[in-house]
Symmetry: C2
């Protein structure tokens, strides 16, 4: 994969592009984020009735006052059972527009990991608006406030929620993101465990600081690379350096511990290495997403960097809820965007935020030898 192969901008999405983005977003889900494939089905259905979707570079929308970030909130399991109508993300945008008394000029993605890579595409399709090649996490994370829009907000950020029945709720702007999270969760639960969220991106100076550029391109390129690796059956040899990533490990899942009493799915996955290069064992700890990777006792990757398991034959992402003993897997690591690794960001998404007594150490892209 070279940068020359990256899609040019503005970029009208083809079905093949959607496939690549869904796969790449699954990888960036870092073991969580829900099934992008299901969301993709809704986008394909929407495209039968709407104009094509155009992804545009962030710079092209610098003068657009209202750019709206879209996400689904709640339990992916609920989504698997209730796909919804596909119009919910656009309804959430409209509820925000009505509250603000302003029209959205473009859509953006809040969480380009898993299913939430697709929800903003649905809104863009139904509202016939361009969507930024950008997001606010660069991956999946479990909570609303774990994104750059919250971390770098200069004031309260209004949130609009919508459910399948068209009910809407607005949090007009809570100063502290944690009450927003608490209220947003309560609203989501009252909406049946799943809601659709629209929030404005900052305008002006703050926008560049608060938005991660190139996220759809990156997901597309990761998806393409993984697909080709699977086609050639050489996934363990993938070269992902130009995409800020590398293969961390290749082996067999030998132990899975999983518990989910109240709150997120917790646990660990142990992978015994294959071949001469991947000796010993890699141990991943997860809380919805894979958050730490230790090769024997050495930390090789840690949140907010992406840690992803893929099936070593098909290249399909293996979620923390799916990993099972006997699974042959390749483990990938990707560097987080620099906006996610500042001191203020690490307070929210660094290892300590998840209770690990570890300092963040950026993923090394050169091959590690022991």
């Amino acid at each position: 994969m070279t940068t020359e192969e990256m899609p040019r901008q503005p970029w009208v999405l083809t079905v093949a592009d959607l496939d690549a983005i869904a796969l790449g977003a699954g990888v960036l889900g870092s073991g969580g984020g829900g099934p992008a494939e299901l969301g993709k089905l809704l986008v394909l259905e929407a495209l039968r009735h709407t104009d094509p979707i155009t992804i545009v570079p962030m710079e092209s929308q610098e003068d657009t006052p209202l750019v709206v970030a879209v996400a689904q909130v709640g339990t992916p399991m609920v989504f698997s059972e209730r796909l919804g109508r596909g119009t919910e993300p656009s309804r959430a945008v409209q509820a925000l527009e009505a509250h603000l008394g302003a029209r959205a000029g473009a859509i953006m993605c809040d969480e380009l990991g898993g299913m939430n890579s697709m929800m903003p595409l649905l809104a863009a399709a139904h509202l016939r608006l361009p969507i930024l090649d950008a997001d606010a996490m660069g991956r999946a994370f479990p909570d609303l406030y774990m994104d750059t829009l919250s971390m770098y907000a200069e004031g309260p950020v209004p949130c609009a929620f919508c459910d399948e029945e068209g009910n809407t709720a607005i949090l007009p702007g809570v100063r502290d993101p944690r009450p927003t999270e608490r209220l947003g969760r309560a609203i989501t639960i009252a909406m049946g465990g799943m809601s659709y969220l629209a929030r404005p991106a900052p305008f002006g100076q703050g926008r560049r600081q608060a938005i991660i550029p190139g996220s759809y391109s990156r997901a597309w390129a990761i998806g393409q690379a993984v697909r080709r690796g699977a086609d050639r059956q050489d996934l363990p040899a993938l070269d992902l350096r130009t995409l800020g990533g590398r293969v961390l490990f290749h082996g067999l899942v030998t132990v899975v511990n999983r518990r989910s009493a109240r709150g997120p799915l917790h646990g660990a996955v142990t992978i015994e290495g294959y071949g001469n290069h991947f000796t010993g064992a890699l141990r991943l700890e997860f809380q919805n997403e894979y958050l730490t990777a230790h090769w024997d006792s050495a930390l090789v990757a840690v949140t907010p960097d992406v840690i992803s398991l893929i099936d070593d034959e098909t290249g399909e992402p293996v979620g923390a809820d799916q990993a099972r003993m006997g699974h042959h897997v390749v483990v990938l690591g990707f560097q987080a965007d620099p906006r996610m690794t500042t001191p203020e960001a690490l307070q929210v998404v660094g290892p300590a935020a998840f209770g690990y007594p570890l300092a963040y150490r950026a993923l090394e892209l050169g091959e590690e030898r022991r």
Copy 2:
């Protein structure tokens, strides 16, 4: 009590007026609605820093586009422990104003029963706005949608919620009142079990249908009558006919059954009668509020008419959570406003709505003989 003694309009509230309204609102609480006395303390505190509060007749505000109804939502028990700052009701109004892009011209009471008689006075004081001599229940009821604003709404009614920390949430207008109730409860729980709610009253034709006039005057007059009865120690002989009420019973509480596993406080109170007139027993069923009164086997009062217990010496209301064996009480009944007894209203607040297999029968004001 004669109608000549009723306060003239517009009416600048004195401390004595507040005392009478708090007592009358306690009676109209029908055994629920929480302690008006606690709310009164907050109003007295607010009045040290604000202009006096002026109650105005509904007719005087017919040309005021935005009249905002105010209520506290949640558990009175939480309020007893956390009085709040007193500014929450006005904050809820301001959140609604910001959402609607319009300024309130007057405040109104949503639930003139118990504590919620005082919350709109707080908003009126802090915002220096007049408050209508009116409400939307004429008593206390447990749920948001059990009011005339919901029953006679011609379209979606936006709701603004506020908590003690200044966090706000808006339900911009849910078509069906039940999701509003569900979402409102969820928001309230996430706000710590208590929130402050502001909703617009309808404008134009719908206003007269949807608002119960004279509610503060009625509470004041009931408070005055009960206070005088207590001073003269002849509460069982109160003549309340000009106020749409009468003494239903006088006796000793002999049995109290109370249960509150999930949901409202349920139970029954049995009162053995005193003297020659009140023979046999009166049995009250309650669900937060007293909802049915049977004299032996005859139904003498039923929701939405008001059924109220007062201490036969002090005249203080005895809530369904307070009644205890050995309590000497007088039971009062008051007719509901006609807006609360239409077929559509009875679907929401009639006996069947609370699970009683009874038809609504209006309280008779002439003394009943058996």
